[in-house]
Amino acid sequence: MENKEMRNKHKILMEYKYEPKSLKHGYTDKMLYVNVGDNRIEEKDIPEEVKEKFIGGKGYGMRYLWDAVNPDTKWDSEENEIVMSAGPIAGITQYPGTGKTLVCSISPMTDIPIDSNVGGYVGPYLKFSGWDGLEIQGKAKEDVIIVIDGIEGKITIETAPEESVDGHLLGEQLTEMYAKDEHEKRQISVITAGTAAEHTRMGILNFSFYDIRRKVARLKQAGRGGLGTVLRNKKVKGVVVKSKPVKGDLNNPFDQSIINKTGIKLHKEIANHDHEQNNMHKIGTAALIDTMIEFDLLPVHNFQYGTHKDAVKMGNKVFINKYLTQGMVDGCWYGCSLACAKAVDDFELKTGPYKGHKVVIDGPEYENAAGLGANCGIFNPETILELNFYCDTYGIDTISYGTSTAFAMECFERGIINKEITGGLELKFGNEEASLELIHQMSKGEGFGKVVGQGIHRMKKIFAEEHGADPDFLFDIGTEQKGLEYAEYVCKESLAQQGGFGFTNKGPQHDEAWLIVMDMVNNQIPTFEDKAEALHYYPMFRTWFGLLGLCKLPWNDIVPEGNAKTDEPAKIPEHVQNYLDLYYGITGKTITPEDMVRQSEKVYNFQRVFNIRMGKGLRANDKSPYRMMGPVTKEEYESRQERYDSQLKEKVGVDPEGKSTEEKIKILREYRYDQYEQLTDAVYKRRGWSNNGVPTKEKLQDLGMDLPEVLEVIEKHL
């Protein structure tokens, strides 16, 4: 059906006209509220106190989500919201990595707040259309789209009965439908999910940006925690944001010149050094693959191992030389010269409903290659790319998919499940056809794909209760925590990274603290106190990006020339100063690095208390499955026997000689559990939390976050 014909079938359920408010110093101070259940559209003034305490981005997401829900709210409750906000720096065009949006909701995976950051143009376009953020609440009776036209000053809720659901099609359809001509397509950004988001808990949101050279709506993903599942449960098919053309000063900054100057400095740095450092402009985040193989950190066969003889088949050079198109403008927001949003063009699909179609594939990101590939024993780059494409268009989180499938494969190989249970799928490691079939099943809501699509937390319960599996063993090898699947790094040899995953607010995602190299390779943080300091500073520092609308990559995936001479090179002090300058340039407020951490701590602790309010967020919820801490099985131990034997001797003080592998595993496990507990104590102390992981009243008072509703939650636990 033609787009025009599809649009003619729309019924306008609500129309709301408004005068788009211009930005001042990065803010409009307006929140847009859309209820698709009763077709209500309202604007809210954002109070000064909220702005001061929560800054924007994830801060606004958490604040408005808290107000919308109650302790009994589930992901599919009417009152659950999807809240998104880009933050005050987002939307400038002079500095790389300044177009991020943070999306929050009660997660179908974890039942607590999730936050996920995403590129694409939606967040900045919302700002240019007069809104610091958007809340979507309620459930529509039929499929709808929300259209925010910042040029006309008009918002509509429209039925959308005929449009596709899959992301790559719907992104194109809506872009074309709401643009007057080819030129205007760049002023449109679209949010979509996908068909699998309707049948699994791990649904994603795709945020588009129109690529004028490729003439296609490219997709970036808010991947973690099932945000797409929430969107489709609300029967929202998509959100369209149409903005006036982008200009460099739309944020109406306090001091444009300092922003320009800071941006030019970083652009030069990237031009001079990226090719000899991480090569982000050529391969993007997949630059990590070779190093992870080298350091035995690439997850293989459900995190059992850190490398594989075939891993080289999916190495960096393979993607650079054979698949990724070079020389294109691959930034997911204007002005990003790091340009890591790589793509494969004219890829002919071999399976599924789009078999034979030639498509553009966004990626692969490192996580996609590692999760869809190595962790499932798949090293064929073309299968990885095909799975990557289908994850995106069907609306599935590549990390949860990869980790969940790897878990199911291990269960199959160990006889915990069989072909009768999988509906005939030979779910062995390396079975590419089985993984592809699984993903197509998720799209249709059929077969064993529907079971895997529930994620590991629920699979463990099903396998134990219905198929008689040993729950303790499943707990050991099921790499999820708080209900969310682990991101794709083997962290057995880095205690700090075990904590980096384990003490996260949302579940084991790597975007809070990635300390593997600092800890395991450099041995820079040897004591519990050192590790605790790192597990305080880095999560807080990185939370700041999510408050302001920034991408993490230009912070430390490119390093300035004089960095080695600074006191703390790992923090990239010159780039930290850049952020302080940008903050001043936008808002006119001068802050210090300590203030940055403090701004983050306010939101971070608020989110921790939010978790407690929803039934998690205590010490028991920060425990790790042993697969992420050490060797669970005999095969794992014996594959790295020299390493583990020497650790027993040197660290534990036990002579491994004459002991069986089982005995040695047990001793090592006790030692590592104890180390993790000691680290937990140290981190909680550093963060100002009780021994049970609860932010103390004194800590909250010190931060100015002793809000009555926050104290009410913690008082029950102190």
């Binding site: 050094h273 000899e276 450092q277 991480n278 985040t285 990590l288 190093t291 080298e294 490192y366 996580e367 991101a487 790094y489 790597h510 975007d511 990635w514 593997i516 190299v517 600092m518 390779v521 450099n522 041995n523 820079q524 040897p526 990559l553 912070w555 430390n556 995936d557 390093v559 960095n563 080695a564 001479k565 090179p569 790992a570």
Partner: protein, 65 residues
């Protein structure tokens, strides 16, 4: 020789920083080397021979996830 707070077991008299970098398979553009607290210039990686009582820090600045 102490490398990154631990005794380096494979020390051989006369090895250079460059040898260590190759042994560790680091990208030399992403590392910072200090010997006894003193920053070493990249051009000197080949020249500086390491001694048994040196305290060496090689910090790999891989940004990661």
């Amino acid at each position: 020789m102490i490398l990154n707070n631990e005794k380096f077991k494979n020390f051989e008299e006369g090895i250079t920083i460059e040898d260590l970098i190759q042994y560790k398979n680091f990208n030399r553009n992403l590392i910072i080397v200090k010997i006894n607290g003193k920053l070493i210039n990249k051009n000197d990686y080949n020249k500086r021979k390491l001694k048994q009582d040196d305290k060496v820090e090689i910090h790999y600045l891989l940004a990661g996830g």
